[in-house]
């Protein structure tokens, strides 16, 4: 069994309630931090832990915190990014739904380190019921004196609120999230200034992912140095992986970073292998935005070494042969899957979610979707593959926010690794006619 720090108690009955959560050591990090540590000491532990942002970008959390501007007389805010919308990712929902107090505990401890009197949990609107669960947990925490004035008799007072979104993937981008929190359209801001200087309502703000904030609790309890011993190299600690697609046991798994990919896919402890003993075709390892890799490149890197679940190992070989850990949204595709059709679902997604502010993304995502739709329908042109390649290349790097890159990479990687499949679609449309492009697990349509 690998080490678990976050969801080791997820099967304990009643763990969503404050009472049971506290019986299992809950809110100990709040007690420890508020009673025995200064805010800079808390920050120092997070720095030492080597924790990297769990939302997707993997930026060192301690460094992000240390960038926070602290001008006199200006409020600072902590905002939790619970706008989990990256296709393939559902770990934050699991964490918040099953152990809501873990996030709230992390919010209090982190806010103490940052000197934030108020924090907000911005949760995607679709997770409305999860917001209800969080609000209930917040009420319990207020009643127990863990939130509000003079927490646990200390000088530290803190308020935490839940804010629901309205349905927009782009609000997972931190500045779009802040715009949305201000009651506006989720248009990413042009940076600089970064949120650490001017965030919500122009005040210094730290925006962190749910899992990142939750991880602060075990870090404070065990100490940053101890935490850093878990994992591998610069990929310290544990990570929640959302596993989905053609596997026997989809779900959320907490892994110690450095676990071999092959073990993750095939061992009974995790995904339990490919459904019906079929062959693995490809994997999207870190949410829809990261490059898709064919089986041979996800199991082993270009040097033939086993690929590990870590920031470094997954990105080894660059985009030519590697990918990214991203948000940990691990989607597995078996041999029956059409990579072209799957890419079409991604392209449709990014087209739907583009905010429309900047031209390459606004126009390019729709264009790519239209071309892919034509190919999937059997009307593709031989020039379409190169055209798609050129469009994604002209979106990448030229947009305000990373959504442009996120829309470009899946297209680039699918063409890079599965070009022959695109050619097949275009040159032999008769072959794809009436063929089911995926293997339905539940035999839904009586297949």
């Amino acid at each position: 069994m690998g080490k678990k720090l976050l969801i080791h108690n997820d099967k304990v009955p009643g763990i969503a309630t404050l009472e049971v959560y506290r019986q299992h050591g809950g809110y100990a990090s709040v007690e420890k931090a508020l009673k025995t540590m200064t805010p800079p000491e808390v920050l120092e532990e997070v720095k030492k832990s080597g924790l990297r942002g769990r939302g997707g970008a993997g930026f060192p959390t301690g460094m992000k915190w240390s960038f926070l501007a602290r001008p006199e007389g200006v409020e600072r805010y902590l905002v939790c990014n619970a706008d989990e919308s990256e296709p393939g990712t559902f770990k934050d929902r699991y964490l918040m739904e099953v152990i809501p107090h873990l996030l709230i505990e992390g919010m209090i401890t982190s806010s103490y380190a940052l000197g934030a009197k108020t924090s907000y949990i911005y949760i995607r609107g679709e997770y409305f019921y999860v917001a209800r669960i969080l609000e209930k947990a917040l009420d319990e925490a207020y009643a127990a004196g863990l939130l509000g004035k003079n927490i646990l008799g200390s000088d530290f007072s803190h308020d935490c609120y839940v804010q629901v979104g309205g349905g927009a993937y782009i609000c997972g981008e931190e500045t779009a999230l802040l715009e949305s929190l201000e009651g506006k359209r989720g248009n990413p801001r042009i940076k600089p200034p970064f949120p650490a200087i001017a965030g919500v309502w122009g005040c210094p703000t730290v925006v962190n992912n749910v899992e990142t904030i939750a991880t602060v609790c075990p870090i404070i309890m065990m100490g940053g140095d101890e935490y850093a011993k878990i994992g591998i190299g610069r990929s310290t600690g544990t990570k929640l992986i959302s596993a989905s697609g053609h596997i026997n046991k989809p779900g959320v798994y907490e892994i110690e970073l450095g676990l071999p990919v092959e073990e993750f896919i095939y061992s009974e402890e995790y995904c339990g292998g490919i459904i019906n003993g079929r062959k693995l075709k490809a994997v999207v390892a870190g949410g829809s935005s990261v490059p898709i890799l064919p089986a041979e490149l996800i199991l082993k890197n270009d040097k033939g070494e086993p690929r590990l679940m870590s920031y470094e190992s997954l990105s080894e070989g660059g985009f030519a042969t590697g990918t990214m850990l991203g948000s940990g949204g691990f989607i597995v595709y078996d041999e029956t899957t059409s990579i072209v059709k799957n890419l079409y679902t991604f392209a449709r997604f990014y087209h739907h979610e583009s905010c429309g502010q900047c031209s390459p993304c606004r126009e390019g995502t729709g264009w790519m979707e239209k071309i892919l739709h034509r190919i999937v329908e059997g009307h593709g042109k031989p020039s379409d593959i190169d055209l798609l390649w050129d469009i994604q290349r002209k979106i990448e790097g030229n947009t305000i926010c990373p959504l442009g890159d996120a829309a470009a990479w899946p297209v680039a990687s699918a063409i890079r690794h599965f070009r022959a499949e695109f050619e097949e679609y275009i040159n032999h449309p008769e072959k794809i006619k009436d063929v089911k492009h995926y293997y339905s697990v539940h035999q839904l349509a009586g297949a």
């Binding site: 042009i190 739907h352 900047c358 126009e363 995502t365 030229n398 305000i400």
Partner: protein, 330 residues
């Protein structure tokens, strides 16, 4: 002060200057410098706060961040929203790679543009036409149907032809910053976004007509000028009148002795020099309303600047004056 080098030309500018402003200063101060080193802009407007950054046509490559931190910036940056640093080095027209990226941006702006220039009132002074001419492909690679919208009359003066809009946000910023009550805004999302009033409310404000001047394309046009003439058949004159609402300093566009339209005067970057009021713009179409100063200086953005319009028109104006003087002496 910060020293910045753009395409090999160095200039010292105050801290807080953007790369774009620095490039424009370089061009303004040095007649020998190619004006094209100032990146083209479709959404930036120096007089509108927080404008720019959206269209991406003004992207440049920063090959050296600053003297202190010489690392290059990993991606092209919007020059209109990126401040210079001391020692920064920037490439624009000297980088084929960057020009290729810009070409991509121009293509994106054009794929859903209707290219109805033959019947567009903006033709001849359209920034997108110029941009397409300088950076575009000769042929479109987009073979799907283009996005279309119904035309909307926003009150008696302004026509919104959303199909032509490239979403530069300038008109929204004018409405927000120049007028005191904003009715129109950006609705919907992604490539379905549109500028609209949602429930076609008239824009009722003394300065609302300025949205027409800031529109880089023919999406917002002057209903009082609609289909009156092609712009290149008219003669723009700097003129003024005593106005209680604005400076009264405008350009009137004449055909013979008729005033076909009134606009703000534009600087060499195509930006309005003074915001003008709706009275001056829409209601004063009699030559007697105006004191004509001189033929307008026309920016490089207009077809009118061809054939030395300014000199010829000044000549005609002078001859006219002389004839009048001779006539009065007689």
């Amino acid at each position: 002060m910060a020293k910045v080098t753009i395409d090999g030309h160095t200039i010292e500018v105050p801290d807080g200057t953007t790369i774009l402003q620095a490039a424009r200063m370089l061009v303004d101060k040095n007649p020998e410098v190619d004006a094209k080193i100032a990146p083209p802009t479709m959404c930036y407007y120096s007089k509108l706060k927080t404008s720019g950054g959206y269209c991406r046509t003004c992207i440049v490559k920063v090959t050296k961040g600053s003297e202190k931190d010489p690392r290059p910036m990993p991606k092209p940056v919007a020059s209109c929203r990126t401040n210079v640093m001391d020692g920064m080095e920037v490439v624009n027209i000297t980088s084929p790679e960057l020009l290729e990226a810009r070409k991509g941006v121009v293509e994106f702006l054009l794929i859903n543009h209707p290219l109805d220039c033959p019947i567009c009132d903006q033709a001849g002074e359209c920034h997108l036409q110029d941009l397409g001419y300088e950076h575009g492909l000769a042929k479109t690679r987009y073979d799907f149907s283009r996005r279309t919208f119904a035309q909307i009359d926003i009150g008696p003066y302004i026509k919104l032809h959303m199909t032509r809009c490239i979403m530069c946000f300038r008109c929204i910023k004018v409405a927000d910053q120049i007028t005191n009550n904003r009715f129109q805004g950006m609705l919907f999302r992604g490539d379905a976004s549109e500028i609209s009033t949602y429930i076609e409310k008239a824009i009722d404000n003394d300065f609302s007509g300025n949205v027409i001047d800031v529109c880089p394309v023919g999406a917002l046009t002057d209903r009082t000028w609609r289909f009156k003439s092609r712009v290149w058949f008219t003669k723009p004159m700097d003129a003024h009148r005593n106005c209680t609402k604005c400076s009264g300093k405008v350009a009137i566009w004449m055909k013979g002795n008729e005033v076909l339209r009134v606009t703000s005067r534009k600087d060499q970057w195509g930006e309005a020099i003074d915001w003008i009021c709706n009275d001056c713009r829409f209601e004063k179409k009699d030559a007697k309303d105006w004191v004509i100063e001189k033929p307008s200086h026309i920016s490089r953005h207009s077809v009118i600047s061809q054939n030395h319009y300014e000199n010829l028109a000044q000549l005609k104006l002078d001859i006219g004056k002389q004839q009048k003087q001779i006539a009065s002496k007689k």
